[in-house]
Point group: C2
Chain length 366, copies 2
Amino acid sequence: MQRVADLDTPSMVVDLDKLEANIQRLQASLDSLGLANRPHIKTHKIPAIGHMQIAAGAKGITCQKLGEAEIFADAGFDDILIPYNLVGAPKMERLTRLARRVKMTVAVDGAVAARAIAEACDAAGVEVTLLIEVDTGMHRAGVQSPEDAQTLARSIADSPGVRFGGLMCYPTKPAMVAFHAEVRDRLTRDGIPLEQFSGGGTGAQQVSKDAGCTEHRSGTYSYNDLSVWRAGNCELDQCAMSVLVTVISTSCPGFSTIDGGSKTFTNDALQTTGVNGYVREFPEIYLEKMSEEHGVLNLSRLTDASARPRVGDKIHVIPNHACGTTNLHDVVYGYRAHGSRPTDGTLSGDELIEVEWPVPARGKIR
Amino acid sequence: MQRVADLDTPSMVVDLDKLEANIQRLQASLDSLGLANRPHIKTHKIPAIGHMQIAAGAKGITCQKLGEAEIFADAGFDDILIPYNLVGAPKMERLTRLARRVKMTVAVDGAVAARAIAEACDAAGVEVTLLIEVDTGMHRAGVQSPEDAQTLARSIADSPGVRFGGLMCYPTKPAMVAFHAEVRDRLTRDGIPLEQFSGGGTGAQQVSKDAGCTEHRSGTYSYNDLSVWRAGNCELDQCAMSVLVTVISTSCPGFSTIDGGSKTFTNDALQTTGVNGYVREFPEIYLEKMSEEHGVLNLSRLTDASARPRVGDKIHVIPNHACGTTNLHDVVYGYRAHGSRPTDGTLSGDELIEVEWPVPARGKIR
């Protein structure tokens, strides 16, 4: 089997032991809370990993774009939520085509989007379940009040072609306890059942439980990344994904340069820290700056200057944002560490590649 | 012909009149300065646009990655510069394979990279021209002093398999005048000819001329973007590329949400301004925040609230960074405006799609 250390760079690699443990851990957490698991596949965009999540107990999946949903429906996933207003005639045609073969649920936040979906589904003779998105602070979509949710729910409940399912939010926040209760009261008086409440956010499982959610959507938990780690929702050692890069220049005092930048990692930055990636093999070194194809490692914390990486060294960088990184890579290498795993986070050289996954939902922006 | 207004969204679109004018303008500027033009194709990653640049007078092209160079060599480009240390055995094999069929020039900044290329070329029986990269302030690669340039030039000149070509820098800075002169003096004393000096940076043509460059590399000029505009190197109306998006939510007071975010535009942000994109049709509205698939338009500058975009409206967003945006799109639509072109920057509805270009060098990170 090919060794990770022999891969050309940059290459996105996934530690399969850690990936499997991450999937089991989140599933166990949701099982103990009695919440259904509906993982968001935008983090990996790979059906094989989605199947691992289903096998662990997930009831369905979340896709952000119809293009993702089409690929996952082709791969056998039959219960798909799109937590996002779908707008426009081409999308109505694709949604109804999907709804003919799998259970589709879509979140909406207003009458225009809800009506268009209802009319398209009615004309096509299919049914889609609609959830009402509630804004919990992202200020990008979602109804603003229980009154607005009630008005929209009534309109959905009265429309052919769609079925009113309940509520959806991201991320779940404590304020959802009261909001959900009030919407439920209002709809009970209207005789409209509120069956489903979909909460979300890696690390927000307990909040979803408290708010009365029936299911929870997490994405990043499968890989984890520096953002999840900084939020306190994983250990650094639980980051399953990293990018293998090569040191290509040491000419600038205080810095080393790698062959990956914003076109490898994204510029989804931790602005407040100036740290855009951690280097597994050199815990004192961090990715500070990125151009498109250059990443600049800051060496100022190095206590032993002779431990500085040299031109040609291959190192693993854990990025800020797994989901953005995934979207830049056509292929991902899954490896497993054999022999003794070093306890300091470095790789032993015995990491063998078990699987090479294409990323078929990469770039599915429509 | 299909109209731009009928495209599904998000879709990356290019105004062909503006693209052609941008290509002619930069070529005329370099012609008047007597500098050869070696455009960087990373901005568009499309051979057809590279051929337009060659037809306008460019002498060769610049590619950042071997994967780009392989695609452009297949498309008939025969003079390719990679301004970037190539390191590692797989890359040596690919470089020598390319050098068998096209003229390859590579920039290096140290003995390790130079020696590896020389040995690989010598073993393969091919010759690659090496330029020495000079650091002009990016602090990511490049020799730091004329002495270091001289030492490296001597070593390259003595090596079989490679030919010493000269210097390379990005971006060209005024300090290059003295640096270049001193390196030239030192190498003249050594009997080593310094034939080529490759400068770069959209808008830095005159600086390259003053520094004694023989050629100039610009990339972003073909499309232009908000970064080029803010640097004073183009008019907003000369931005040829934009992304057609749909307004999908108006539920949050003061904002409208579009169906594109950091996976459509990148997070290559103009941090200081909070403006991440301009909307052609609504000059008072700007793209403020981005999630992965949501973009949030700030409406606070709107003088006429009734002019607020509605759910379903399609609008064109000019992004911060054309090169990063290109790398997220599998296809680009080239259109031409017919009938009278509105003078306020909006589209007339008569923009007809003439060409649908795949982006074959997208995602070529190796």
